[in-house]
Symmetry: C2
Subunit: 192 residues, 2 copies
DNA sequence: GCGCCCATGTAACTAGTTACATGATTCA
DNA sequence: TGAATCATGTAACTAGTTACATGGGCGC
């Protein structure tokens, strides 16, 4: 199977939940799945054109009064089939790249305070992210049809992955900060 | 500051530890930092040319008997400066993309067994990865100069990040498998 | 009046991937 | 004898990013 852009499937996936414009899709990525996915406008708009050209989605321009017209995309049966086919395939995860870690291991000559600040910031970001997923969690279950539904449970699973991984990251930050403070103290002792 | 390819800095970072050929650099990525970084040959070889052209590294062809000649690259003072400058800058993490999670949340119509298998495989992969970082941990401290050194502690911090995050992932997998088994049982009960 | 949100797109770029091509040596 | 490792590279591609361009409406 030739690997096609993952963006295709991400967009098809969202469209399988509800019709959406390019703007809506971006918003969905930023709000609902930002924890594990992201897209940018330029790419969304260009892939939407492809989807339409291939008959996987169809465009419908909706006039709203007072607001600029929206190009709303609907998934087609063909698109739904393409999506399901992809969902059934084994996951091919792209290897991660953590710039923070890369920087850390090469930072023997960098002042410790610089590293401490980086970790502190990283920790703050992850605390915020953890708060956000907890907010999202509440939202899922506020839907009337959520109780006992398969989709709500699958979303809960997604939320949980954020909770586990953010928690782990925050713990690692705490441990790392202790280590760095230790190094700092020792090096300070050498140059009194 | 215009953002240049992160590959540049990854390679400069490795070269700051020791001179290396393209092949060596690839190996280092696969073995020492695969937990949080990756590179492929094509990109390495093309970026090495850039580094040389910009005077950040210099090439030295070494003839070895019985083995093909190696193009070994040495970091220059200019390269070292460029690297340190990057290390001092704030981290700009590229947002993550987890295909597994993306698939899960759209998988309402996918047979539960398919999802269970995906999670099981993911768990296995992370158990292996965890074992590997534990191996790597031993290696760090087997170096004679490791004890008390700053670099060994920084590498230990890197290793720890893997330990924390892989552990969290494995726990999440266990919880998720329970949830999925539950869903399976219930759906099975509906269609006796 | 200012800034944010809604809304869509293009142009230019570059970073990174896949596939191809080659060939010697070592180890099982 | 066949697979793995050592070793370097090119060609073709595509996925994804950044910057630019525009403009009305809404709330403070």
């Amino acid at each position: 199977m030739t690997t096609k852009s993952k963006t295709r499937y991400a967009l098809l996936g969202i469209l399988s939940l509800h019709p959406a414009s390019g703007y809506d899709l971006k918003k969905f990525c930023d709000e609902a799945v930002s924890q594990f996915w992201n897209e940018n406008y330029a790419h969304i708009y260009s892939v939407l054109k492809e989807l339409e050209a291939e008959g996987l989605a169809r465009k419908q321009t909706e006039q709203t009064d007072k607001r600029p017209p929206k190009n709303v995309y609907y998934i087609t049966p063909k698109g739904k089939k393409e999506l399901n086919n992809w969902l059934l395939q084994p996951v091919r995860e792209t290897p991660p790249r953590y710039e923070l870690l890369l920087k850390l291991v090469f930072s023997t000559d960098i002042p410790i305070d610089n590293l401490i600040n980086k970790i502190k910031q990283y920790k703050e970001e992850h605390i915020k992210a953890l708060d956000l997923v907890k907010e999202g969690e509440k939202e899922i279950w506020s839907y009337p049809k959520a109780q006992g539904s398969k989709w709500a449970r699958l979303w809960q699973i997604g939320v949980n992955s954020g909770k586990y991984s953010y928690k782990a990251t925050i713990d690692w930050c705490d441990e790392t900060l202790e280590t760095l403070e230790e190094i700092k103290k020792e090096s300070g002792a050498e140059v009194p």
